[in-house]
Symmetry: C2
Subunit: 415 residues, 2 copies
């Protein structure tokens, strides 16, 4: 009766392979975008496996999918584990799916061992974490945590056309077995396993990342405006060159920000000049700045630094500058009670681990606003993600699931 629950490695790996077939692309990835046909097939498959094990299946108004294994006391808030099932258009088979299926494996392991728990354990697949087909991302977890409202997104059009309200209705209707429940029910905690999507764990040969925080993120769009003029006939003193201003800012920021602070991230991903003619000094240059830091004060200081550099360059090169903040996502610290539990579990399993900050935002970022939350990272090859070449080794998948199971056990014991 008191069998210790164990991860069934073969079952987990087969499960990952099964779901990788849903929306499979020729290059070995998946195209299983939110609220589309493939998303519905994946939900159905998971729901059927859940029902076959005697678990119950729920969905809320934004189609967050929950699989529940009852505990002794139904009045206690359940422990939540899981991730998302939707993917990028040319996504990998592990991003989201590994965390959701590892969580389901935990449920099956508890059921195999006949483990009685005080509180229920629920697996979640949050709706539209990726934000590729419908923007913004993390829709399901935002609605769950009250950080966003479904009503604001109902009329959004998919990149391929259909209105969200229609696709959502179809998704909910496709799973009549899933009883509808009110959105945002109380939970005791949330633990999300996810691939790192970065290179650190692999390069350091560490199988588990204990995620202690998620970086805050700001996205800025910067436009320098000068005066288009002839490249051959215009001397320096008559130029109002926004390209020179933009290059000065970018070069200065790249040499200052990240070298000074290993936790800071600064990226210029997009740039364009108008009119964009080889022999015309541009009239304007537009570029984007993505800055991140786990500390809110430091992130704010980074934004001020960017703005100061823009002011300096604008004066130096006689241009105007306009800065538009497009995204402003506060950092979040995860619950130390849970991160310590993760670290202890790794030690007990003789698995190396290291604390780290998540550079990407996840559903856990939003759920952390309503319950103690943390994440477990596993390595992915070359840190590649959002890419059909995304890859996690069998060994790392198994380790990750074992840690998740151990953490769940400890949290349930703790009450």
């Amino acid at each position: 009766m008191n069998i210790k629950p164990e991860v069934n490695a073969a079952r987990l790996l087969a499960s990952v392979a099964d779901f990788a077939a849903i929306g499979a692309t020729p290059a070995g990835g998946v195209n299983r975008q939110a609220l589309g046909v493939e998303d519905r097939i994946a939900r159905r498959l998971l729901a059927e496996r859940a029902l076959a094990r005697g678990f119950t299946v729920f969905q809320d108004e934004i189609a967050n999918l929950f699989i529940r294994r009852e505990g002794k006391d139904a009045s206690l808030p359940p422990l939540l584990i899981g991730s998302h099932l939707d993917s990028q258009p040319t996504g990998g088979r592990f991003d989201g799916a590994l965390g959701t299926l590892s969580a389901f494996e935990v449920l099956e392991a508890l059921a195999d061992a006949g483990t009685e728990t005080d509180r229920a354990v629920e697996v979640v697949a949050f709706t539209n974490e990726e934000g590729s087909r419908y923007s913004p991302g993390c829709m399901g977890s935002m609605a769950f945590s009250g950080a966003g409202k479904l009503a604001d997104w109902q009329t959004t059009h998919a990149t391929d056309g259909p209105v969200l309200a229609d696709e959502l209705a179809a998704t909910l209707a496709a799973l009549p077995e899933a009883a509808v429940r009110p959105i945002g029910h109380a939970i005791s905690a949330f633990v999300e396993l996810h691939i790192e999507q970065g290179p650190i764990l692999e390069r350091e040969n560490v199988p588990i990342g204990v995620v202690t925080a998620v970086q805050g993120t700001k996205w800025l769009e910067i436009v320098f405006s000068g005066e288009a003029a002839h490249a051959g006939t215009t001397p320096l003193e008559f130029r109002k060159d926004p390209m020179s201003a933009a290059a000065m800012v970018i070069a200065s920021l790249q040499s200052a920000i990240m070298p000074a602070d290993p936790q800071a991230r600064l990226t210029i991903g997009r740039i364009a000049a108008e009119p964009g003619s080889i022999n015309v000094i541009p009239s304007s240059v537009t570029f984007t700045v993505d800055i991140r830091h786990p500390d809110a004060e430091t992130l704010a200081a980074m934004e001020r630094h960017v703005r100061q550099e823009c002011e300096t360059a604008s004066r130096h090169w006689h241009c105007d500058v306009a800065i538009n903040r497009r995204v402003d996502m506060a950092p979040a610290q995860f619950a130390s009670s849970i991160t310590e539990t993760i670290a202890d579990t790794c030690a007990a399993l003789d698995l190396k681990s290291r604390p780290m900050v998540s550079g990407a935002f996840h559903d856990a970022l939003f759920v952390s606003r309503v319950a103690p939350t943390a994440m477990i990272f596993v390595p992915c090859r070359n840190g590649i993600s959002h890419n059909e070449a995304e890859f996690v080794s069998d060994a790392h998948m198994i380790s990750g699931a074992r840690v998740l199971l151990g953490v769940v056990g400890s949290l349930l014991l703790a009450g």
Copy 2:
């Protein structure tokens, strides 16, 4: 019988206005692109006015249009003056047309005064100087001077579709009054009047620029290649960021090249990043470099400087770099005999003048390879050209034509 020839100011200004109506745009400019319908209308108008004055009209195989006023000795190579009649898609009414019509005014002034000349004087409108509809520009003057071959361009497609051979045939056929002559006939000299297309004459309040040279020009296309990666999860030490490399090069060149040498020009007019996503470190950044200098050695050194900076940035930011030279046009010194004549003429007419280097390339650049050549610049408002707002004052148009007439007189006297 020895009336001194004089420019008829009203006739010149009316002529400029008449031609500005051919291909006129709503914004006050012209769209009279090479070898198109409007180009043919302008050629016809000029040919008819020529024939009405008793001049003869010729065209060569690339439709360079010549208007000839006979001298006493038809065996002497004619003195050539003129420019081009074709325009940019949203061009100004003065770029090329002013030089061609000022030259025609000179012919009419000589005819009005009954001036007998030893050698003939010819006005030319070179074909396709702009290079916007058919690339490259300066086609007519390149073919005239042997710097290029019509055979190489016959199959070129226009930006709007038609093959050059067809449009050229139609243009030649539209002017049966123009006898066809062999291309590249001998001339004694070439003098081209043109708008400055830069801001110097206007800002210095000088009505005439004595153009002593044309800058050499090189166009480079530079591609830095790195590795696309997640903006949030990738620490600095794992980055291969081509944006940082590009910005380093551009910022360094902009602070070094032009400040050190007032004759140098360096412009980055076009830039783009792939994939161009706000939260992805780019896999590649491509940008163009336009460098110019009147001294060939210095221009070569500038190119070496650009390449060295690219090598440095490539090593510093762990990227590859590829540099492709797209255009390589040698500088040209104009004939001092002619530039001195221009300066003397200005003094005699009590007009301020200043020597200067042309930052743009012109038909004169190529003709200077086969005959003594120089250019006369007149100011244009704010230096604006290749723009419907291009503007030259009546006074400056009249001064320019008077100088051209005076120069022609001096050159004819000199033999």
